[in-house]
């Protein structure tokens, strides 16, 4: 099994696009467009599930011997030239697609290719491999890209409600039978039945469980996933669903301000404690406002609350192990 490579990319060659070296997406606005370069290595390997099963994955990885599922977060601004070099270390054919933005075309086994595009409309995007329909995306070949409005560091789109920090929550679900079939070059023939559920590639580990509190293992504390803020630290969360199951994203502590659905700006900002996240690349942008929890008495300014999917099957792993699924914690500090 390959050790997961956790966002240890060097920033050399990446002009001020700070690509997730911490959990937060760090971002400094620039007056001028830049060229952002990034190399992804298409790799594979197995990842151990919470019940001990090893499952095969492929990913857009930041090193040739790593396996990143999802791929590293990309953050650029409108007008930037984005140059992505894909190095296919496998012997299968892949591609790199951002729907409506860029399509690398086929990258044969052992081949490399560089694609270049100009970042267009501000918003949240998924990059993925659609060479073989959904299969490579399900195997792990997906990741998130944020396009910031030009000259702005606190808006999702020009004129949007503002925030002070931002995160990605990329959800995924895994049917090991499909992964095994695809590993063997077969087309899955069974009905898709997800058995494992991840947030930013990790499983939650309840207190006391092996790996609990390890930020490289436990989605509850993974700094890419767990929200930290003081009251008033309005937090943008870019939510993407790489899996097939429709999910209900549920936050405790505060309602979410619902800004977009599947790339479309909502006509009004509704405040919701549950949001419908479509399967197969559904997308939401929300702001978690870090307000004093409104129904607390006496008013509470500190504390911890969960974010979990209310489609509760997603909270399990391997058919049991409640709390080893796709959830994290939110810390009012």
């Amino acid at each position: 099994m390959k050790r997961r490579d956790f966002l240890k990319v060097g920033s050399a060659g990446i002009a001020s696009a700070l690509v997730g070296t911490t959990g937060l997406i760090s971002w400094s606005r620039r007056a001028h467009a830049a060229t952002i370069s990034k190399t992804f290595y298409i790799t594979d390997g197995t990842i151990t599930m919470p019940d001990g099963a090893d499952v095969y994955f492929r990913g857009y990885s930041s090193s040739a011997n790593g396996l990143d599922v999802p791929g590293e977060q990309l953050v650029v601004q409108e007008g930037d030239t984005v140059r992505i070099t894909l190095v296919n270390t496998l012997n299968t054919t892949h591609n790199f697609v951002i729907d409506g933005v860029v399509d690398s075309g086929a990258i044969g086994g052992g081949q490399s290719k560089t694609v270049e595009f100009v970042a267009g409309n501000a918003g949240t995007y998924m990059y993925h491999d659609d060479r073989n329909g959904e299969y490579n995306r399900l195997l792990g070949m997906h990741g998130g890209m944020a396009v910031m409005p030009a000259g702005s560091s606190d808006e999702l789109y020009s004129g949007s409600p503002t925030f002070v920090q931002q995160y990605f929550w990329i959800f995924h679900d895994i049917d090991p039978d499909w992964h095994n079939a695809l590993r063997n070059g077969s087309t899955p023939s069974s009905q898709y039945e997800p058995m494992y559920f991840t947030l930013n590639g990790l499983f939650a580990r309840p207190p006391g469980a092996p790996g609990a509190m390890d930020p490289e293992v436990d989605a509850m504390v993974d700094p890419r996933s767990a929200l930290h803020g003081h009251v008033g630290d309005r937090t943008l969360v870019r939510i993407l669903n790489a899996g097939k199951a429709a999910q209900s994203v549920h936050t405790h502590g505060n309602h979410m301000e619902w800004l977009t659905e599947n790339g479309q700006i909502r006509p009004d900002v509704w405040k919701k404690d549950c949001l419908y996240l479509d399967g197969n690349m559904g997308a939401l942008d929300v702001i978690y406002p870090f307000e004093v929890p409104p129904d607390s008495w006496p008013p509470a300014t500190k504390g911890a609350y969960p974010m979990h999917l209310h489609s509760e099957m997603s909270q399990t792993a391997g058919g049991g192990l409640y709390m080893f699924g796709a959830l994290t914690d939110i810390y009012f500090e």
Binding site: G208, K244, A245, A246, N254, L275, S296, H310, S311, L321
Partner: protein, 347 residues
């Protein structure tokens, strides 16, 4: 123990107190009945309590028989009205809570058994001591605990158990929670529209295979099927919704004079997505998830996913019989698994 806040913000301390076992291949677990990753040992007395305006006492009943239209009986679990007692007196759904915005409410949960439960007031956002989430604070097992909350927003909520939630909420451990504005029943929110009567559409699905599991099923590992919900019954507000039962049940269906303003409080209480169609009626959605929409919307149907609520007012101006159908839709395949039916007749 007053340092629980610190501990939960720096969770290693909480982890230290927890049980071993489970995970990484399963096995182990030294809790009551072999449960893993429940946290009754963390329980403290809620230190924030002040004098309440309203108190709800809730006990546990884990043997509530529900007879379906086909004659089969499925075991449900639920909360009882009144604490203490072991079993008996429970209903499905659990008894509703109805409070007024701004009241200080205590929910006293009595778990007089060696199984763990909590109450989470879904959509209510209290201090985390009162949020009922086991891994953040504690589960309640063989003990009593008081949750304190003060609702700030009128609307439709529900409360449910948050221990081994995937199973306990499916087992029926939930009830409606209504917050009325200061004006009281009949006004949706302060300064908002009025209504004459209410219907409650709490739509859920039941996989009867899950209803044979123990309270701690799967917590220590092992495949007990909790990733796969394959419902064979479709429920609206505690009755079998597939046939005609719900269409003749009070508070779910009704016959109204023309001109009546009916408020429907719709709760998506299952785990699969739903689509509710109003049978030819157009409703005005004023509130979702306990928050007034900036602009009300007109709707002939809505889609919803687990835990969402919609408060919809129907101005009944045209005589007729309207069948409200809610499809329960498989979360992956999109297949319609079943449909519940309720009725509004306008005379």
């Amino acid at each position: 123990m007053f340092n629980v806040l610190e501990k939960s913000l720096n969770r290693p301390a909480m982890g230290m107190r927890s049980r071993d076992g489970g995970g990484g291949g399963g096995g182990g677990g030294g809790g009551m009945g072999g449960a893993c990753y429940v946290y009754p040992e963390n329980l403290i007395t809620n230190p924030n309590l002040v004098s309440p305006d309203v108190v709800y006492q809730r006990g546990i009943d884990m043997d509530i028989p529900m007879t379906m239209d086909d004659g089969n009986v499925v075991t449900m679990w639920g909360f009882t009205d009144g604490g203490g007692g072991m079993g008996g007196g429970g209903t499905f759904p659990s008894p509703a809570m109805r409070v007024r915005q701004g009241q200080i409410v205590h929910t006293v949960l009595d778990v007089n058994m060696m199984w763990a439960h909590t109450i989470h007031h879904h959509g209510i956002e209290p201090h985390y001591y009162s949020d009922g989430v086991g891994h953040i604070t504690w589960d309640v097992q063989g003990a009593s605990y008081t949750y304190q909350w003060r609702p700030a927003h009128a609307g439709t909520y529900f409360y449910h158990c948050h221990t081994n939630t995937v199973l306990h909420a499916e087992m029926g451990m939930y009830g409606a929670l209504i917050v009325d504005p200061p004006e009281g029943i009949g006004t949706l929110y302060s300064g908002g529209p009025t209504y004459d009567t209410e219907l409650f559409w709490v739509v859920d699905e039941i996989d009867s295979n899950w209803h044979r599991l123990a309270w701690d099923a799967g917590t220590c590992g092992g495949n007990v099927g909790l990733h796969s919900l394959n419902p064979d019954y479709f429920i609206i507000t505690g009755v079998d919704g597939s046939g005609s039962t719900a269409m003749n049940a009070a508070a779910i269906s009704g016959t109204f004079q023309r001109g009546t303003k009916v408020l429907a409080r719709y709760i998506c209480a299952g785990y699969h997505p739903q689509r509710i169609r109003f049978g030819g009626l157009t409703g005005t959605v004023h509130i979702s998830d306990g928050r007034v929409l900036p602009n009300a919307i007109q709707a002939t149907e809505l889609r919803a996913h687990s835990g969402e609520r919609y408060d919809v007012i129907f101005d009944l101006d045209t005589r007729g019989e309207y069948i409200i159908e809610t499809d329960i839709i498989h979360w992956v395949s999109g297949e319609v698994l079943g449909t519940t039916r309720s009725r509004i007749t306008v005379i």
